[in-house]
């Protein structure tokens, strides 16, 4: 499996954010997207996820499921965590599991992995910032997707949480997945760097 | 003893009956609620959950 972009151009709000960007990532590989604030890291992830439309260039996944589009094979973990405060932890997770469909794991098991199994019945409104992040991570585990698009995934995680997340990513790569992560910090796993914009 | 309630007997009787009914509903609700709460407390008690002071959940001084 190979994700590649050729000459990708990104325009937002009428302004060109970056142009002529080439990148690729193969199965089992993690790419860390780095760059200054406002250089377009988030924009790149959203382009891959189909949430933005490139003003030029192409992005394609070779060797994936031919019946599915690229976004349908991606997990996107953004700044906003797609949680409903009124629903409990378990309800939030099981909704996404049911809605996203496809191959999946037991929800309770993934809550245990991220350390939220004692809080399954708590409304998501009661979660701390890091606990919310952990709940988002549980979504990636419950539903299997080959491509993970992660936007500053370690935000708000404590040290133990970052270790746990590192292990999860290594696991995903070992199973042949691939990861594109925008980050300002060390990602915690071996990764190739993709720099956007001028050097800071 | 019979009362003569005049031409509006039905209104008077309805008033008293409605009052009786509403009060009965209130009492019934409170009694049923009490039963269900004490039942739940007993269940919790049986499952070994006690209050902080170590007393049983059910004990009422």
């Amino acid at each position: 499996m190979q994700l590649s972009g050729r000459g990708v151009i990104c325009v937002r709000g009428g302004r060109e954010v970056f142009a002529g960007l080439d990148f690729e990532a193969a199965s089992g590989e993690a790419v860390a997207v780095v760059g200054r604030n406002g250089s377009g890291k988030t924009s790149l992830l959203r382009l891959i996820a189909g949430l933005l439309i490139p003003a030029g260039g192409t992005i394609a996944l070779d060797g994936g499921d031919a019946e599915l589009t690229l976004p349908e094979q991606c997990h996107y973990l953004g700044h906003r965590d797609a949680l409903k405060p009124a629903l409990s932890v378990a309800e939030n997770l099981s909704f996404w599991a049911d809605f996203l469909g496809g191959e999946r794991l037991d929800a309770h098991e993934s809550l245990a992995t991220v350390g939220l199994d004692h809080a399954t019945h708590l409304p998501a409104a009661f979660l701390s910032a890091g606990q919310r992040r952990r709940l988002s991570l549980a979504r990636l585990l419950t539903v299997r997707r080959p491509v993970w698009l992660l936007d500053e995934p370690t935000t708000a995680l404590d040290v133990a949480g970052q270790d746990m997340f590192g292990a999860l990513m290594r696991d995903h790569l070992a199973r042949g997945g691939l990861i594109i992560a925008a980050t300002h910090m060390a990602l915690g796993i071996e990764s190739r760097e993709l720099r956007i914009g001028a050097v800071a | 003893m019979t009362m003569s309630l005049g031409p509006y007997a039905s209104f008077i009787v309805t008033s008293y009956a409605a009052a009786a009914l509403v009060v009965a509903i209130l009492i019934g609700w409170i009694v049923l609620d009490y039963r269900s709460q004490t039942r739940r407390l007993r269940e919790l008690d049986r499952s070994g959950i006690t209050r902080r002071s170590g007393r049983s959940a059910m004990d009422r001084p």
Binding site: A119, R134, D158 | Y8, I12, S15, V22, L41
Partner: protein, 263 residues
């Protein structure tokens, strides 16, 4: 037993268990006396036998306002002293007050049909009582809609106090606007204008209904305390499970020291 003791939910439970049977007995006796006396009361020369509705209507009308008054005082307790027992008192009173208000409206319209020739008229007294009824329903909806009882209590307290403005409007609406409804004849400056043969049964019925309210309210408060005890025990159960699996975040303390049920 001092006031401080009363504020302790466990003591309160003990007290209510002791007092409730006596209260219930007193209510039944007074109600019986009141009903007997009102059955014996003569017909009014203007209103005929329909005056008998008064013995139900007026106590319920008074209580509809009295209960809101009780809730307002409890609300002050919630907002000023943050006392959990005040929350309980306010919550338990709302359905009972709504029931009394409903009865006041119903018996009022049943009386209105023979007296005014219509069940309902949009006059100030009737309208303000209807608003009172809607606000009772709103409060009950609020209590039901919100999970966290202390959060609901604070919101309900603000709303109760705002709604208390309605009480003087109900009371004085008959004086401020001339309406269909009877002006005050029992509780007014310069003594009652009501004949003794009506006044005494009315007062007995009023006291009986007040006792009924006190009884029901204490019982409902007891239920509410038990409900919160159940809730806090269930939360404790949830966190117990957490400790046994011993993973990740969360509070390790025994919870709910401030929760009323845990007292």
């Amino acid at each position: 037993m001092t006031l401080i003791d009363l504020a302790n939910p466990t003591r309160f439970l003990a007290l209510t268990t002791r007092v409730l049977p006596w209260l219930a007995a007193a209510t039944v006796i007074l109600l019986a006396i009141g009903l007997y006396q009102s059955a014996l009361a003569p017909d009014d020369y203007l209103q005929g036998a329909t005056v008998k509705i008064m013995f139900i209507h007026v106590p319920n009308a008074w209580l509809s306002m009295f209960v809101w008054g009780v809730m307002s005082i409890a609300s002050l307790g919630t907002l000023v002293w943050r006392h959990p027992l005040a929350d309980v008192a306010a919550k338990a009173a709302a359905p009972i007050g709504a029931a009394f208000t409903f009865l006041a409206l119903l018996t009022g319209s049943l009386w209105g049909r023979p007296m005014w020739g219509t069940y309902w008229e949009w006059d100030a007294r009737l309208t303000s009582v209807l608003i009172l009824f809607l606000m009772y329903l709103g409060l009950m909806a609020l209590w039901r809609a919100v999970e966290d009882p202390s959060r609901a209590a604070r919101a309900a307290a603000v709303l109760t106090l705002v709604g208390a403005i309605n009480l003087p409007i109900i009371k004085f609406s008959v004086d401020w606007w001339n309406t269909l409804h009877q002006p005050a004849s029992v509780m007014r400056m310069g003594g009652s204008s009501l004949d003794k043969s009506f006044l005494i049964p009315l007062l007995v019925m009023a006291i009986a209904f007040t006792l009924l309210f006190v009884t029901l309210h204490l019982a409902a408060m007891r239920n509410e305390i038990l409900r919160r005890r159940v809730r806090s025990l269930q939360m404790m159960q949830a966190s117990r499970i957490a400790f046994s699996s011993e993973m990740g975040a969360g509070s390790r303390h025994d919870n709910a020291s401030k929760e009323i049920g845990a007292a």
